[in-house]
Amino acid sequence: MSVAVVLLALLGSVWLLAVVEGWTTTGRLRLTAPLLSGVAHLGRESIVPRTPDRLFFEAAPVLLLVVAVLAAAVLPLAPTLVIADMATGALFVNAALAYVLVALIMAGWGPNGAYAMIGGWRFLGQLIAYAMLIVMPITGVAMRAESLVTTVIVNSQDSVWNIVYQPLGLVLFIIAAMALAFRAPFDLPVAGGELGGGVDAEYTGVRLAVLRLARLTLVVTLALATTVFYLGGWHGPLLPPWAWSLIKTLAVAVSMLLAGRYLPRIREADLMRWCWTLGIPLALLNIIVVGILVLVVP
């Protein structure tokens, strides 16, 4: 039951996100546009490049989608509305999202194209930049909750949300999440202007439809993770819990999209330098501050 509800919520959020994305790029608000373009993709020819690594080429979009859904499976929408309330939920989110890298390397290597391959390996460099900034802020969150269970993490923010308790962690986490989802300022693996689409370049038709769906699902999953870890999850007045979760998730996802539209694409070397020379020290500082707060504030 909760599986169906969560999947439906994910799908609905993806659809809304696609509508907003279309709105910001074309300036017209068309509710049916994502559905129509999805159907159009199904009808188009799905080209397979010459001498591909067929296995990787076929598996990559599906793996990306599965990984995004798996990560969402441990994140609660409401106190009981969670597919798997694992004892190591916060770690499992990391484990599932690590396979985004595997999917992108497959998608880069599979089609036997130069741009795609550069895009795939670029994401490996990007991972080395952002990986620590995903794990370390979550450490701070788990320290405050004294648990890795996601529902306990939400409950620990009953009085004060983590956005107030550890704002530094939130900022670092959102930046790292945008890099993980390869959204606009960090879209190095698919860079439209310089790589001709990167890992997207060789995908057409139904495979491209799955890939696009997977990317948007990944954004929704990461927004949901931000909500659960920092924005108090389902807590909020008046409205039912699931509504608060969805509202916060969509707000985070849309602000990720909008932030991407107004920022220039960052260089790979700059991303690496800023993440390691500034990001990781700040993440460590965040852990220390949270540790002090946990001990001092009752």
């Binding site: 990787f56 595997v102 390397i105």
Partner: protein
């Protein structure tokens, strides 16, 4: 119990199958990713054996580790795509013999040994995480800290080995143009 035996066996077979595939394919990226899925199957075996924290940790760590392995394979192999059909093995008969003997001895010990009473119940997953943390920062703290220092040492050693040597201008070594 039967369910547990079934899942351990299935993931074990998957781990072995991918493990064999590592050395049977000539495409280097396939080889590295086969190793990754073998390690992931090992992580799933941990989950099937109710060792949740270690299982999830194994699945998480290996994804990054083996992907990095893949790029090094592509960098260092003469034929990363495996299209040339090069044979990259030597002393094959000896290696197969050694592998079979090693596995055979270990299997014999596993089957013949008397594994006295086997406990049926594992501690709850949340309990395990908690107790492992107490173990890490209690009795085994010294070992844990040693592991940390070893990581630091290895990082420095690896970086020192990898950065190019700044040689004087008359060097006859092939230098990177950058």
């Amino acid at each position: 119990m039967y369910a547990q035996a079934f899942f351990v066996a299935v993931f074990g077979l998957a781990a072995i199958g991918f493990g064999v595939w590592v050395f049977r394919t000539s495409s280097m990226v396939r080889s590295a990713l086969a190793l990754l899925f073998s390690q992931t199957a090992v992580g799933c075996m941990f989950l099937a054996m109710q060792t949740e924290f270690l299982g999830v940790l194994q699945i998480m760590m290996m994804a990054t580790e083996m992907s990095i392995m893949a790029i090094f394979m592509v960098m260092f192999m003469m034929d990363p795509g495996g299209m040339g059909g090069m044979d990259m093995t030597h002393q094959k008969r000896f290696s197969i013999g050694a592998g079979v003997v090693a596995a055979g001895v270990a299997i014999a010990v596993a089957v013949l040994a008397d594994w006295a009473p086997v406990s049926a119940e594992a501690p709850a997953a949340a309990m395990q995480t908690r107790e492992l943390g107490r173990e890490l920062l209690g009795r085994s703290m010294m070992i844990f800290e040693t592991a940390g220092i070893t990581i630091l040492t290895a990082m420095i050693a690896a970086t020192a080995a990898a950065i190019p040597v700044q040689t004087p201008a008359h060097s006859d070594e092939k230098e990177n143009p950058e």
